[in-house]
Subunit: 194 residues, 2 copies
Amino acid sequence: MLELAVLGLLHEAPMHGYELRKQLHARLGPLRAFSWGSLYPTLRRLQRAALIAEQAPAGEERSWGRQGRRSRKVYEITAEGKDRLDELLGEAGPQAYDDDGFGVHLAFFSRTPAEVRMRILEGRRRRVEERRDGLRSTLTRAGEQIDRYTRELHRIGLDTTEREVRWLDELIDHERSLSPTATDEATGRTRRPE
Amino acid sequence: MLELAVLGLLHEAPMHGYELRKQLHARLGPLRAFSWGSLYPTLRRLQRAALIAEQAPAGEERSWGRQGRRSRKVYEITAEGKDRLDELLGEAGPQAYDDDGFGVHLAFFSRTPAEVRMRILEGRRRRVEERRDGLRSTLTRAGEQIDRYTRELHRIGLDTTEREVRWLDELIDHERSLSPTATDEATGRTRRPE
DNA sequence: GCCCGATGTATCGCCGCGATATGGTCGGCC
DNA sequence: GGCCGACCATATCGCGGCGATACATCGGGC
């Protein structure tokens, strides 16, 4: 997940770790944290895999040589990195449907192929519906006997999931209006019920 | 987190791993998963720490001897385990405010001291408000220039956090009505603003 | 003159996850 | 009668991410 985020950002412009994290927060907002303990090891990993590369000090001594507080390693995406990014953006697996994964994918949706966008949205919708139905049945079937606090927890969860489904429907409709062909075929649906 | 959940459940009745996970799902619902890869290592860890113990086969051969599908290790909480449970229930640290931690704590709220309940709810409220404010300022300040999908992500997030704050207020009011004294003192508040 | 907070890179151990292996039992279906 | 799939039940492995922590430099406020 962080791999996608880092490659996606570095595809737009070279950056160093600290800046990378600020950008991450700006996009994902307080929705997804990503701590230092995740970021730096990921950068190492990506560098070893040659998906990103450390920029040479470049301007010899000037430019950042004096203004940078500390050494500052600036990374840029490599050709292999771009390939990998396309690969990640093209995937619509289960991990693209869970809370974290979906958020990250959405943050790079404009770079995602329309057909994949649709599959991710539909997949996410199915996932959220499952959760909603689970909560709903717990509340109706065992509504009386469960702990008050647990019930409250399920109530707010149910409300949240219901709203997200409606929100997803709006996004899906929007996508459909953008590219009315191919998307229905891809998901095997002709018309979304409800 | 799983430690609290397991100890909390075993405090109610001895159980084996599979049953434990079903109970977990019943309480936390689809809000918090907890896979096998978390559960069994946790049971090992707790057993090694002597917080839980494996029940002796008990009835010699009868009882579950024939109906059980497989060996089935039944665990029960020990005296140390109960102490540890009280300790965990008495904590109101930062980890009790994040999504996962808060959910688990809430599921065992009826066993949590009233004063601690209050601090957890207030802490969670503060946390959610921070997230809300972050989303809100991003939307208003950089509302025009950010990516459409990112903006949508922030919109739904903002809506969700606003609702959760209101929901928390209801819970807090309820708590306050249960034990009107001590709670305000504990949190240094006299009246919740709005 | 001093401390605080932001900038910046980095590591460590732990927790939880997803995938996977293994195998017993039961009901239903052909 | 035999086979299949669903459920019961335990367990491991590698890895991604987190929180805490360390260390260093700079600008600004008191």
